[in-house]
Amino acid sequence: MTEVLNDTLSVERPAPRHFAFAEPFWEGTREKKLLLQYCRKSGQFQFYPRPVSVFTGTRDLEWREVSGRGEIFSWTVAHIARPPFTGHTPYAVVTVTLDEGVNVIANLINCPLDEVAIGLRVRAAWTPLPDGTNLLLFEPDGTAAV
């Protein structure tokens, strides 16, 4: 029997407080766009948003929209939880390597437990937050080339 994972979509998540330098990320989520900081000098993306390029120590950063596609780097299933996740276990927390070369932590939805695997192709999914922004989640990428 396939264990069903909770998709966490009914969790009443509060909108998190944003650090000012992360605001473009959150503004992008209003239109379900995934924006990442890009360091021109080193030619690399970085996540989570920082006040500086972690590669060069300078503030020469720009925001670029990315595909939201990637693959699972690692995963765990939460069997205990604190509010507001209490009562919503088991749910999956995954680290996803985006195609742009950064690792992002989020929940995985729309995926039975026995299909969760390192290397599984995923794409961005979104769930609304009370402040009008959307929270980035991931789901299996049904359109991915095998």
């Binding site: 966490t8 970085q46 299933v77 069997h79 939880a81 927390v93 932590i105």
Partner: protein
């Protein structure tokens, strides 16, 4: 060499208690009194003070000063060490540096926390925006991700982790300071059957947060001899790395800063893993002990489980590990937890191990793990090699 000019002349440890309800400075007082009583060093001789950043003291950014005042200490050097579970081990190197620089001559290294009774942390960090919205329940979830990745790369040897859990538990049964709740015999089956917390991390992979304190008195080696100490402990090698490979977006999370911290400590001590008589690795999760066996050169990469299966890790075995039970079986007194492993290393070198005394008390290796970064393993890795003298 500055490090080995320092000497640890005394150690102290309280019983580790779950939800003790005791005041944090009561634990501090117990340590101070014990150190003064057992070493004969008078309070007024103490002119240096290092204390760990704690979950209980977290709301007070004058923590070292406030605690020193409660203890009646007049000081030339006073500092909080705030590298989490690495603070206790890191404090030894900082104390040696302070002694070498002439900042002070007799220094109290105190680790206290009452996290299970009074938690005052207000974490200003990446967690609010990037972790909490996903229901990550703290370190067990992070170690779930580490364990799964390890399983993918090398295979997670649950029987080996179970053996480690049992070995440490057997040591806690011989440790009167271990938390009483944990002093019950354990089997590999108990480990395997313990409930999932953050799959594949089980309950018995994790530490239990408690209250407690521990501490050391350090002075210069010269002064220790002048004062007539016939046996003491000397730090021989130390390595520390914070934010290992932090700018490598896709760094291997089964590799930690202990790789470089360990190489530095062994080179400085001019020793190799085979010279270590007892090994006291910081153990917030069993997988961390396994990974560090590989990082520190005891086992090849991916062979930590095989190493645990093959070797006798008991106090009377060929590589005694966490001979007091470690934090997993003695309890984790919050951010004083690093001192549990450290004090046990010192105790064994001084031949005060009692029923769990190791045979080879020449050299001990102690490690620290402090802080959990975003999507990696741990923030600060420390490795300290200690030697006995006299």
């Amino acid at each position: 060499m500055a490090l080995r000019d320092a000497a640890i002349v005394g150690f102290a440890e309280t019983k580790i208690e779950a939800r003790s309800g005791r005041e944090i400075w009561d634990f501090a007082a117990e340590i101070l009194e014990s150190l003064i009583t057992t070493t004969g060093i008078e309070k007024d001789e103490i002119d240096g003070f290092l204390i760990n950043g704690s979950m209980t003291g977290a709301g007070n950014c004058f923590w070292s000063q406030t605690t020193a005042e409660f203890l009646g200490l007049e000081l030339d050097f006073c500092q909080t060490v705030d590298i989490g579970g690495s603070s206790a081990v890191g404090a030894v190197a900082r104390a040696a540096a302070a002694l070498d620089a002439g900042l002070c001559s007799t220094i109290l290294l105190l680790n206290v926390d009452t996290e299970s009774s009074e938690q005052n942390l207000n974490m200003r960090s990446f967690h609010g925006e990037w972790i909490h919205p996903y229901g990550m329940i703290g370190p067990p979830a992070d170690f779930g991700l580490i364990s799964r990745r390890y399983d993918h790369l090398y295979g997670l040897d649950l029987e080996a982790l179970g053996k480690l859990a049992v070995t440490q538990r057997n040591h806690a049964l011989l440790n009167d300071n271990a938390c009483e709740k944990l002093r019950k015999p354990l089997t590999v089956e108990d480990y395997l059957n313990s409930r999932m917390i953050a799959d594949p991390v089980r309950l018995l992979d994790c530490v239990m947060v408690c209250d407690g304190g521990n501490g050391l008195l350090m002075t210069t080696r010269k002064r220790a001899k002048e004062k007539g100490f016939d046996s003491f402990v000397v730090p021989l090698g130390y390595g520390e790395r914070t934010n290992y490979r932090t700018t490598d977006n896709l760094a291997d999370i089964t590799e930690s800063g202990h790789l470089v911290a360990g190489q530095k400590a062994f080179a400085q001590a001019q020793l190799k893993p085979a010279d270590i008589g007892s090994y006291q690795p910081y153990d917030d999760f069993l997988i961390a002990v396994l990974i560090k066996l590989e990082m520190l050169g005891f086992a090849e990469r991916g062979q930590g489980g095989a190493f645990i299966r093959e070797r006798n890790l008991s106090f009377d075995g060929d590589l005694p590990i966490n001979t007091g039970g470690g934090q997993i079986s003695a309890g984790q007194p919050g951010l004083a937890g690093g001192g549990v492993n450290l004090i046990e290393g010192v105790r064994q070198l001084l031949g005060k191990g009692g029923a769990r005394q190791v045979k080879d008390r020449r050299h001990a290796l102690v490690t620290g793990i402090g802080g959990i970064p975003y999507g990696r393993n741990w923030t600060t890795s420390t490795a300290l090699i200690l030697g006995s003298e006299g």
